[in-house]
């Protein structure tokens, strides 16, 4: 097996050298930026925007009197986008795919709009977006937020605080629509927040405790579904506002039994990926769903009231239409990619495992493969069940020496060569190197390949006895075995290959390891029933954009997402279910709560490093690499996409880089 790997590694190194030499002429990476107001733009550049322009198709509508002129459609202060490469041209259709009928998971990042956003250049500064400005009181418990003045829904209705009030009073505080009040972040400090409307554009949000990370949370909240919702459209389906007979007629028409099911069809706030939304539903996004011409195809067209412009005063977006086609399986998607039938394929539908195929057909397919840094796709992490159902196994796994041994037994450089063509960087499970929370010792902790020490650690734990086949015996005389259960391609294209390598490494230190690939539903059911030894997931939430608010890998706070199902359940159900964790974990919860509360950035970094340090000493999860490349597929006609960037759950896909200013250059 080892010789086989070496051969593959050698071949891959040669291959990557060939590939590398062809891409080294790429131009200097430009990254788009934004100015909050026209005045900000003038102050920063000394240039003035005096005239606004619009797409030809909209200009025609204005001429025909069907649409107000562009000056009246833009808010008082449109956001000014500084482009990646150049001022774009209007027009064209972006050809895209999606892999699930009900979901925009493949595409939402092209049009999601958040309450606040993150600066694409430094990847951590919080910037205004729909919320134009925010202020907190000195105690840090109250935030006064102001909606961008004059901003309009895509149907032309002005956005006001009525849209906030409706969300707070009639959705969040309606027992039918929200049976359980959402916890994070809305119950920060243990109690539901309260909302106070101040004037047409200003509102106040109050928490029981100081909440220093609230603006960062706001950068993760998509407007339209949360905080600011199109109340004028939603009232038609709400029992409090709609006439009873109208509501009953609609329920019959849409075949729902309860009014809240009907309402949820239009309001579903599970996220921006809901692809079942009504045609022409009011939104703040750059494109609006306007047509479903045939089964599986969805067309989005430009939002005439979009509220961002470029530095030449052109209203964005540049691209007229998005055409999203349902594709049933990965092979078909790859076929379409290499035949050049798609303009952009994002993080969810590409994998470094297919990199050689993409690269081989780059010229014929008339596209370019951009290698971005991934914070999710293909970035594998191993989770060993800290709350294992078998008491003997639990005792073994909870011993830090055991997890250190598991980590030391892994040859990360070999994984890097085999899975990532040598393009990633071996690392323990921690934040990315460019994070303010990063320290080199976190990345190096137990990350060297040292099976000898691993064996020694296991011997010292009392696992030195072995059976005839050379596998270690547990204190109760049974063979020490671990089954890695995973859902295969649902996690990443190379999951099985990754698991294969881990099986070999752990067998080499005397642990009888097997991998078991199961259907995602079975995997999920087993995880919920706490029946698993070890599983694989992809490691997101490791940047300054998400680690401070959602450090799930280092503190067991999210049920069924981490490495200690029973503790996570205990935390999420506030002690009603699951098991209370031991003191060392309770201490981590405490640090996490303080991180959320503190108003001092310095203090937060200190606390965050404490979490990471605890994990470095006693690895709760086992990571293998960082800076894992993601091969994005971008057609040669699509411009203004940065050559280099970061993409993953942390960035909300490509949304960090202002997709509304991408354009088609024929």
């Amino acid at each position: 097996m080892k010789g086989y790997y070496r051969l593959i590694v050698l071949m891959l190194v040669v291959l990557s050298l060939i590939i590398g030499s062809t891409t080294s002429f790429a131009q200097k990476p430009g990254i788009p930026g934004q100015y909050n107001t026209l005045a900000d733009y003038e102050k920063a550049t000394g240039k003035k925007i005096t005239k606004f322009n619009e797409a030809p198709s909209l200009a025609e509508l204005v001429k025909a009197g069907k649409l107000p002129p562009v000056e009246q459609r833009l808010p008082k202060n449109p956001i000014v986008i500084e482009p990646t490469e150049e001022i774009g041209k209007y027009g064209g259709t972006l050809r895209l795919l999606r892999m699930a009928p009900e979901s925009f998971v493949s595409n939402y990042d092209l049009f999601v709009e958040r309450a606040l956003r993150i600066n694409a250049r430094d990847r951590k500064t919080i910037e205004p977006n729909v919320i134009e400005s925010w202020k907190r009181n000195t105690a840090g418990t109250e935030y006064t937020l102001k909606i961008r003045e004059g901003i309009r829904w895509s149907d032309g209705t002005p956005v006001t605080t009525e849209d906030v009030r409706f969300w707070y009073e009639d959705i969040l505080n309606n027992k039918d629509l929200t049976p359980v009040f959402p916890r994070r972040p809305w119950s920060h400090g243990g109690k539901p927040f309260t909302c106070e409307i101040i004037d047409k554009y200003t509102f106040k949000i109050k928490f029981a405790r100081p909440f220093g990370t609230f603006p960062l949370w706001l950068s993760r909240i998509d407007v339209g579904n949360n905080i600011i919702v199109p109340s004028h459209a939603l009232k038609r389906y709400h029992i409090k506002y709609a006439k009873k007979e109208d509501l009953e007629r609609l329920m019959k028409e849409y075949k729902y039994e309860q009014w809240f099911q009907l309402f949820a069809r239009f309001s579903d706030n599970a996220g921006p990926w809901d692809a079942t939304k009504e045609v022409n539903w009011p939104t703040l996004q750059p494109w609006v769903v306007t047509e479903r011409p045939s089964p599986g195809v969805i067309i989005l067209e430009r939002n005439p009231y979009y509220w961002k412009i470029d530095t030449a005063g052109n209203q964005l977006p540049y691209i007229d239409k998005l055409r999203i086609e349902l594709v049933n399986q990965v092979e078909t998607a790859n076929m379409k990619i290499i035949a050049g039938e798609l303009d952009y394929v994002g993080q969810h539908d590409v994998s470094i495992a297919y990199y050689p195929i993409y690269k081989k057909h780059e010229k014929d397919g008339n596209y370019r493969v951009l290698l971005w840094e991934g914070t999710m796709t293909d970035k594998y992490v191993l989770e060993v069940n800290l709350t294992h159902p078998d008491p003997v196994m639990r005792k073994i796994i909870q011993n830090p020496l055991f997890r250190r041994a598991l980590s030391l037994a892994i040859n990360r450089e070999e994984i890097n060569q085999v899975l990532y063509f040598g393009l990633a960087k071996p690392s323990a499970a921690t934040v990315v190197p460019w994070s303010v929370y990063y320290e080199e010792k976190f990345a190096k902790a137990y990350a060297q390949y040292d099976p000898k020490t691993a064996n020694k650690l296991l011997d010292s734990m009392g696992l030195q006895k072995r059976d005839k086949e050379g596998f270690r015996l547990r204190p109760d005389g049974k063979r020490l075995s671990i089954v890695i259960t995973h859902a295969g391609t649902r996690v990443g294209a190379a999951t099985a290959k990754f698991a294969d390598m881990i099986v070999d490494y752990w067998k080499a230190i005397g642990i009888d390891t097997k991998q078991n690939q199961v259907d995602e539903q079975l995997w999920w059911a087993k995880l919920q029933a706490n029946e698993l030894d070890c599983w694989i997931w992809h490691m997101d939430r490791t940047t300054d954009m998400l680690f401070p608010i959602d450090p799930i890998w280092f503190v067991p706070i999210q049920q069924w997402h981490g490495h200690a199902p029973l503790w996570e359940r205990w935390y999420e159900t506030q002690g009603a279910q699951g098991e209370k964790p031991p003191e060392n974990i309770m201490r981590l919860y405490d640090i996490y709560h303080k991180m959320q509360e503190t108003l001092s950035e310095k203090e937060r970094v200190r606390l965050g490093k404490m979490l990471l340090d605890a994990n470095a000493r006693d690895p709760q999860i086992i990571g293998v690499a960082t800076d894992v490349p993601v091969p994005l597929i971008v057609s040669n006609r699509l411009r203004n996409v940065p050559e280099k960037g970061v993409i993953g759950w942390d960035t909300w896909g490509i949304s960090l880089y202002h997709p509304e200013h991408f354009f088609i250059k024929e």
């Binding site: 009928p101 599970a270 011409p293 078909t332 076929m335 079975l522 049920q559």
Partner: protein
């Protein structure tokens, strides 16, 4: 005859009821429900669905009721209003999800049927009447290949071939220019220029099978005495073969109508997935995978009804075509 028809149609009701119960049970058997799939998909995308959100979604999907109650509500609505329920994945009534794909699905299936039956029967007749000739051998050889290659594999091979020769991805049924356009004469022509590929791919296996069956049964018939007698009496060869042995040899093919009808709706699911065709097959497949219970259940219900109706049609056509069966029935 009419009494017979009514009896057969009444027989439909208990069978469908049993089928629906079994289908529903099978859909409910795997761990989890549609919500599980939904949560997993969100999780794979990166988002976390917290306990509060799960509580909300369970209510929205109506999954807070136990399975047997859900089953009865579903059946009641079908019986009372003809309403097949709502598909969780598509957030649309089941009838709409199936309806919008039905026309294309049936077009492909029926063209495929005509293709494979015409070619299959003609080859079968030729092979039987020219047994052990060079063409018979080559048809037999091709037939065995056709029967043994799964159509999705054939699809992959052809896709690869077309891509490597012409740089085209053969997926879907329309050129990009017509895919979203409303129906017009040009769109129909465009469809016809694309449809041959799935038809040939899906039809190859069937054609080969039909040819083999036709050859076998016809060979049996050709050796019978009435054929020899007819030939001895100087009946023209063509008339002889088509009027008598062919009519009998076609019987086993007619009996297969009962399973042909369901395959018009869901035939060659895997091939459709590979070729990315906007037909019903992939929808059924996905419904079963995601436990979209009303969609999957309705599909199975429709397919079973078609199978039963198909059996009825097969019996009627057989009686019409084959006098022997007709007389038996009348006497019995």
């Amino acid at each position: 005859m009419i009494e017979y028809l009514i009896r057969r149609l009444l027989f439909l009701i208990p069978v469908l009821l049993i089928v629906s119960i079994v289908a529903y049970m099978v859909i409910e058997l795997p761990p989890g429900d549609y919500l599980t799939t939904h949560i997993m998909r969100l999780r794979a995308a990166g988002t976390h669905v917290a306990e509060d959100e799960i509580a909300r979604l369970t209510r929205m999907f109506g999954l807070d009721k136990p399975p047997h109650i859900r089953y009865f509500l579903w059946i009641w609505k079908i019986v009372r209003y003809g309403d097949l329920g709502l598909s969780f994945q598509w957030n649309k009534p089941v009838t709409e999800v199936i309806g919008e794909r039905l026309a294309l699905t049936m077009t492909i299936s029926i063209i495929t049927l005509l293709f494979s039956w015409t070619i299959g029967i003609l080859i079968g007749i030729y092979s039987a009447t020219h047994q052990y000739s060079i063409f018979d051998y080559s048809f037999t050889f091709l037939g065995f290949i056709g029967v043994s290659i799964p159509s999705y594999l054939l699809a992959l091979v052809i896709m690869y071939f077309v891509y490597s020769r012409f740089g085209l991805a053969v997926t879907g049924l329309f050129s990009p220019a017509y895919a979203d356009a409303p129906w017009s004469i040009h769109k129909v022509l465009d469809l016809l220029s694309h449809i041959w590929l799935p038809v040939v791919i899906i039809g190859t296996g069937g054609t080969a099978g039909i040819a083999r069956i036709m050859r076998g049964t016809l060979l049996d018939e050709l050796r019978k005495q009435y054929v020899i007698t007819a030939r001895a009496k100087g009946l023209p060869e063509r008339r002889l073969i088509f009027k008598y042995p062919v009519r009998i040899a076609i019987n086993p093919l007619i009996s297969s109508i009962s399973w042909l009808l369901p395959s018009i709706i869901s035939g060659e699911t895997i091939t459709s997935i590979v070729l990315n065709l906007p037909t019903c097959g992939p929808v059924l497949f996905r419904a079963l995978m995601t436990q979209d219970e009303y969609l999957a259940g309705s599909f199975i219900l429709i397919l079973s009804s078609l199978a039963i109706i198909g059996a009825l049609i097969a019996d009627l056509v057989l009686a019409w075509i084959d006098p022997r069966i007709r007389y038996e029935k009348m006497e019995g």
